[in-house]
Amino acid sequence: MSTRELTFAQAIREALDEEMARDERIFLLGEDVGAWGGVFRCTEGLFQKYGGERVIDTPLSEEGYVGLAVGAAMTGMHPVPEIMFGDFITLVMDQIVNQAAKMRYMTGGQVQVPITVRATMGGGRSSGAQHSQSWHAWMAHVPGLKVVVPSTPYDAKGLLKTALREPNPVVFFEDKVMYAKVKGPVPEGEYTIPFGQADVKREGKDVTLVALSRMIHPTLAAAEKLAAEGISAEVVDPRTLTPLDSETLVRSVAKTGGAVIVDEGYNHFGTTAELAATIAYGAFDYLDAPIERLGAMDVPVPFTPPLENATIPNEEAIIAAVHRVLDGRKR
């Protein structure tokens, strides 16, 4: 199988295209996903290829069209609503949390709700406090949902294809900063990536860096710099929060004895907390230092670049955290 370099957005688009060709039940809906091709170009050309019946421009009515998607899923379709800015997921909480996530349970297993909600996340674009948030932990808090946080074009394509074959509601988070800026190898042709399988993005033995979505990239860069200092860092990407591959996380930390967790969601009651608890429980006997949590600073995302940048974990912060872990081990 030959491999090309695709951007993150191109990988998403290719997964949608291939799955729509495979399964007629799949349809896309959202704000400007149709004729315009999506504000982030993830659906470019799909309206022209599949028509307005399957790539549907909706009014700015997130609750209405996600609600419609839940009902369509319950009656045999596989809708893919897009939440243009993940911040707007607040507008569809009832549909996702009270309807999609628990309809199967409340009916004692009578229905399936195969809906794939695509939502963006991530700051760093001076988009202000209502267009920059990362709400994946919020979704991962809800039983009945599966939550996906891909970090590379390869993972995005393989995981989205899995989502589009899932019988359950999936919330699929795409860091919008990666859409055009992150490129990577994607093989031509068919592959899927199962949910619940973390990926070791770099092997190492001194410390484990757990990172997800876009945070993988500063984390891998930090690992490279640490290598120059003679520190061997392992980088693990959980790829899905629900289901969570706790085994791979625990195994890595049992090997290295230390962990730094990097995420663009908030620290407070966030993904970093859940992952730290998982590691602390599973690898308690192996930890030589407290687990370091690097989440987004617990403030609304500021507009001005110097302040916004201060809220998002970066390479320097990751390296500093690794040093704290290794220093703690020496004490």
Partner: protein, 330 residues
């Protein structure tokens, strides 16, 4: 009872179907009385949201539906379930939290569903069924088999944003969706007139570009005729419509309060004088569809069936605790 011919040309349905409407209305009334009884006796956990007084609306609407049409229901949904063909035995068991219930006891009084009958669940969120109903209408249009989707909701739901969002989409995309507002005059404990601006839902629906009819929701034949007209238009591809049925809830918002503290006695008496059951009985007797003796026999028959359903529910086991993690994911 022997089969009988259609009594008079003035009635919109054959005698057998009229009898079936009556049987369903009486079943709903008896069901709600039974639930209230088992609530008071502590046989069911939690509270119940009862719809006695409102029977004509779900029965009239569902009489206009096909088996493959779908409905979504509300927290006050027992009537909708029975009207769409739900069986009282698994309903009672569900209310009791037993494994023989429609949802294996996991849904409960507010969340009864039988998807095989097109009942896409009763919803505990006010207006919560509207999105699902719109989605079912979307699928129906895609399938192209003339199926329609009905969203039942109360007067409280007409002030929820999702009505406006889905109504706009349904009109734009000409979805076969009927919004049925069961206006029982009270949003929980407050008269809905105090909570609703303008002329009410029918006027709002027209502004959205939809057909809207308003009927006496205690007159089952009036409800049926209006629903039939709107449903058939939707089947023909004419898009969504709204039907407002004015009716009254006899009991409280839930079984834990009688509904008398915030509603005038005269108002309750006035609505009870327009009770949908005796009104329909009168029509049936006058047209010789049924005799008073047969009505009495039917009362006994339905009462006995409900009593047996309660006994069966009491005898049935609760779900095994190991089921608690089942059905979270498919």
């Amino acid at each position: 009872m022997p089969p009988r011919k259609s009594p008079t040309a003035s009635l919109p349905l054959p005698a057998e179907e009229l009898l079936e409407l009556y049987r369903k209305m009486l079943t709903i009334r008896t069901f709600e009385e039974t639930i209230y009884d088992i609530y008071r006796k502590g046989i069911m956990p939690g509270l119940a949201h009862l719809s006695d007084g409102q029977e004509a609306t779900p029965v009239g609407v569902c009489a206009a539906l096909r088996a493959d049409d779908t409905i979504t229901s509300t927290h006050r949904g027992h009537g909708h379930i029975i009207a769409k063909g739900g069986q009282v035995e698994p309903m009672i068991a569900e209310v009791m939290g037993k494994v023989t219930g429609y949802c294996r006891g996991k849904g409960g009084e507010m969340h009864i569903a039988d998807v095989s009958l097109g009942i896409l669940g009763a919803n505990g969120i006010v207006g919560g069924g509207m999105g699902i109903a719109t989605g079912s209408a979307f699928t129906a249009k895609r399938e192209g088999k003339g199926r329609v989707s009905v969203a039942f909701f109360g007067d409280g739901a007409i002030n929820q944003g999702i009505w406006y969002e889905t109504a706009n989409i349904a009109v734009l995309w000409k979805l076969p969706l009927i919004y049925v507002c069961e206006n029982n005059q009270y949003t929980e404990f407050t008269n809905s007139q105090k909570l609703t601006s303008g002329e009410g839902l029918a006027a709002r629906a027209k502004v959205m570009g939809m057909r809207a009819l308003e009927v006496d929701g205690n007159d089952v034949l009036a409800v049926y005729q209006a629903a039939h007209e709107l449903v058939e238009a939707a089947r023909q591809g004419q898009g969504p419509a709204t039907l407002v049925c004015n009716t009254y809830r006899y009991g409280g918002h839930h079984s834990g309060e009688p509904g008398t503290a915030y509603r005038p006695k005269e108002e309750i008496a006035d609505w009870k004088a327009r009770d949908p059951l005796p009104r329909f009985e009168k029509v049936l007797v006058e047209n010789k569809v049924i005799s008073p003796d047969e009505i009495e026999a039917l009362h006994d028959q339905i009462h006995n069936r409900l009593q047996m359903a309660v006994s069966a529910g009491q005898a049935a086991p609760y779900p095994d605790v190991k089921e608690v993690r089942e059905h979270v994911y498919a």
